[in-house]
């Protein structure tokens, strides 16, 4: 699983991508966030649970309860401000 970070999340984590083998109990995008907060101090500090973030699986915006399934990439980012 490749994880991509964007905008201030990327900046504060000081990394834009990361490869990770997910344990079997990580089924949904929300599980992944829990897993990252438990195993990664930096992530827990930069993206605490109350942070407003948005997520994409393989270029599709998803909700927290979306199953990760066979997705190859998860993108984690703040609300968009384009246009």
């Amino acid at each position: 699983m490749i994880i991509r970070y964007f905008a201030w999340i990327r900046e504060r984590l000081n990394r834009d991508t990361q490869e990770l083998d997910l344990p079997n109990e990580v089924k949904t995008v929300e599980d992944l966030l829990h897993h990252l907060r438990e195993t990664d101090e930096d992530f827990a500090a930069v993206v605490p649970p109350e942070t407003t973030i948005r997520l994409a699986l393989d270029d599709e915006l998803v909700e927290l309860d979306t199953a990760i399934g066979a997705a190859k990439e998860v993108s984690i980012f703040p609300p968009m401000t384009g246009g």
Binding site: P78, M80, G82
Partner: protein, 151 residues
């Protein structure tokens, strides 16, 4: 029924794009163009804007909004150009052009694409000002702007 989406770092010429877009559409009675520009106001002066983006996702999302707009408003064509990287005050950031037989469809098509693009296209703005750089917060009103299309 054509959709063209370009995501580029290069500056673009807003007027030249309008003329190119219009040139090959003899059935179009109406073209609406929206141009979003880097702005600096006295109460919040900035020098430049840096746009970060998610390339593959941005392309797919914008193509989808554009295709939705074509079908929803029965448009003849839609074209979107969105820049990323650094741009100066006064430079264009994004341009959406919609062509149709009648005027309201062209207005609605461009407006619809912009409303979705603002909240669902993966771009993030960082302002470069006298006090340093600052990520732009998402606006609540951008999120609610989409609601007019679900009425």
């Amino acid at each position: 029924m054509s959709v063209k989406v370009t995501i580029q770092a290069e500056m673009f010429d807003a007027g030249a794009l309008v003329n190119q877009f219009t040139h090959d559409l003899p059935e179009a009675g109406a073209v609406t163009t929206f141009t979003g520009l880097v702005r600096s106001t006295p109460d919040k002066p900035i020098e430049a804007l840096i746009l970060e983006h998610h390339p593959t996702m941005a392309q797919k999302q914008i193509e989808r909004f554009a295709q939705d707009a074509i079908e929803r408003f029965n448009l003849l064509a839609i074209q979107v150009v969105h820049r990323f990287g650094e741009m100066k005050v006064g430079e264009p950031i994004v341009q959406v052009m919609a062509a149709s037989h009648h005027r309201q469809a062209a207005f609605d098509g461009a407006n619809y694409v912009m409303d979705w693009l603002k909240t669902d296209a993966p771009f993030w703005k960082k302002e470069v000002g006298p006090q340093g750089t600052d990520w732009v917060d998402a606006r609540e009103t951008d999120e609610t702007a989409k609601e007019k299309w679900t009425k």
